[in-house]
Amino acid sequence: MKKLLMATAAAALTAGTAYAGGHAKEVKLGVLFGFTGPIESLAPAMGDGAELAMEEVTKSGKLLDSATVTPVRADTGCIDNGLAVANGEKLVAEGVNGIIGGDCSGVTGAILQNVAIPNGMVMISPSATSPGLSTMEDNGLFFRTSPSDAREGQVMAEILKERGINSIALTYTNNDYGKGLADAIQSSFEEVGGEVTIVTAHEDGKGDYSAEVGALASAGGDVLVVAGYLDQGGLGIIQGALDSGAFETFGLPGGMIGDSLPANVGADLDGSFGQIAGSDSKGAEIFAEMAKERGFDGTSAYASESYDAAALFLLAMQAANSTNPADYVGKILEVANAPGEPINPGELGKALEILAAGGDIDYQGATGVELIGPGESAGSYREIEVKDGKNETLRFR
């Protein structure tokens, strides 16, 4: 017992000094994603993406005093505020130097308010896209490598209009993300003269969606836009609508884009379309290649954003020459945007060198990172159509 106490005390002591010293041998980054819950099929690739950047930096040996970067994974449950906040606290207690996450918008807001702000911890979320997070009071501690859904609403309206669609039925998953996105789609689509016949929420994790499908079918529309999650209610709604012959084509925003959806629904989904944050930068290709080597799918939704989030943390730390959130937070926008040497995935070592020498970089990363306004991605989107059971990229917007 005595030994254990000593060990704990010693560990706590070193952790404390590491935090204060800045020139630590170990940098810890929290990876706070929904490894269980509605997007549990996306989270592993996101985690791998983030850890890929950390590995790369560790291997380069150029961060600060050749520090090693250790990921600390924790679960948000995606929609479980209590769990997410508790795990956020746990990460802070473990002495992480920054938190990559959360993933879903609702829990991200909760972690920001209850953990990040009181502890002065910086968060970079790869996938929280609710417009509400743009205006939330964050003391400058919150960034995201994904664009706000307000932008996605505009893009979706454009795509719908170009396809000659004049009326849509709209259903969203009943949380911050779904509601925000549905509002954005509705207002953007009505702005360009489209008609939204019905807007209705669906709960995730239910399985039976006959009531929702019935209401949506009764209201009618050319396509059904499902602003939900592909592993959850979104899938159930699409399945139900197809089975009952209510709708044949679906509009699929970011949360619905993933390989599992066409695989689960089958040939009936062909012809449905949508968009997801992504860019045609060279970085995306390089990243996909790197991911393949490490054994995960780099094109999985938000995996590349996660890589970028982790990279931004480490580059900002290098630029500030400190792992203290208060010191490096100011550098995040600086390393992410021009001017400076453009940095692609796989070039983190080079970037660290430039920064160490006092130079400037413009981190492009896997998604062509460009942070605007309150620290969020400007937003380019991949337009996708389902063909022969595969998500195919048509173009970039």
């Binding site: 399985g207 006959s210 499908v213 009764s218 209201a219 012959g245």
Partner: protein
């Protein structure tokens, strides 16, 4: 003609899904109600027992599919179902031996049993996720539709389509058979009668020489079979995902309580009441009214009584009203 369209739309979006969902809830509620009636506690682990049963069945389905065994137009899962039931019975009996029996010997209060079942629930939750993972599993094969919306439109020339999925038809038919067998068992066989006797008055049953451990064992076997059948039917019709089964617990309990906990007929009625109330009250009647009313009266709005957001509120409102005015449920169950 228009009236026909209205009728078809109503059948397609309200009656068919309502019947299927109602049957699934009824089968689940029967299991809950049997445990409550005979073992005298609310078994929170029921949803996850369903998930476990469905999981074993899925594993066997995959095995059969890989060796090329199939049931023709019917889902292969039907062949695997008996194995799923056996697996679940084994699990239920092991749980009873290792967990519940201890508390039975202690003569623990029902509320302690409820808490114990909560613990069992989390254990089963974990076991299922460990074995098959947390994700969606599809195991439906065979013919998808008895009649699809497109074929129906072509056949009848109506504007509205009617789709009946094989799994929906299968669910309703299986439910009817299972319920018939269950009632025959409870009312006609010696074991069934001893179970009812034990449920009515434990002490009297003991005095007349009924072996309580036997009754408990049979109850668990029946409940495990019911849970597996309900779980597999639900998974076939929708999809299998451990989390969904956990969530299913709420409507199942609502059904059992509305019908009267401990009363099998009540459980069935409750299942349909909850299912139909969820679907009908939140249904947008626009389409049906447009077809059935003359143009001048046709509504512009959706004619939706409540938005679908409130569909759970509806079933729980019914639950509260029933508990307020008839605490033992619509069909006389045991007092809650």
């Amino acid at each position: 003609m228009d009236l026909l369209n209205a009728l078809v739309a109503l059948t397609n979006f309200v009656i068919v899904p309502g019947l299927a969902y109602g049957s699934q809830l009824a089968l689940g509620a029967l299991g809950v109600t049997l445990i409550y009636g005979i073992l005298r506690f609310s078994n929170f682990a029921h949803g996850d027992t369903m998930a476990f049963g469905a999981m074993v069945t899925i594993l066997f389905t995959w095995l059969f599919q890989s060796v090329g065994l199939s049931a023709g137009p019917l889902p292969t899962a039907l062949l695997a179902l008996p194995f799923g039931i056996l697996g679940t019975i084994a699990l239920a009996l092991v749980t009873d031996r290792t967990v519940y029996r201890f508390y039975r010997q202690q003569k623990a209060k029902p509320v302690i049993f409820v808490m114990v079942s909560l613990g069992v629930m989390f254990m089963m939750n974990g076991i299922v996720r460990f074995i098959i993972g947390p994700g969606d599993q599809r195991f439906t094969d065979g013919e998808r539709f008895v009649i699809s919306a497109r074929t129906f439109k072509k056949l009848t020339g109506l504007q509205e389509g009617l789709a009946i999925k094989t799994t929906e038809a299968l669910t309703v038919i299986t439910a009817v058979i299972v319920v018939a067998v269950l009632f025959w068992f409870l009312n006609k066989t010696r074991t069934g009668k001893s179970m009812r006797a034990y449920s009515d008055n434990e002490d009297l049953a003991l005095l007349s020489g009924i072996n309580p451990e036997r009754v408990v064992m049979y109850t668990w076997m029946i409940v495990a079979a019911l849970a597996t059948i309900a779980g597999v039917l639900y998974g076939l019709d929708k999809s299998f995902k451990p989390f969904t089964y956990f969530q299913l617990l709420l409507p199942i309990f609502a059904s059992a309580i509305v019908g009267g906990l401990g009363n099998p007929i009540g459980a069935i009625a409750g299942g349909f009441i909850i299912a139909f109330s969820e679907v009908t009250i939140t249904y947008a009647w626009k389409k049906v009214l447009n077809y059935s009313l003359p143009d001048s009266l046709a509504p512009d709005g959706l004619v939706q009584l409540l938005s679908t957001d409130y569909k759970f509120a509806v079933s729980f409102a019914i639950l509260i009203v029933v508990l307020l005015f008839k605490p033992t449920g619509l069909f006389k169950g045991k007092a809650v």
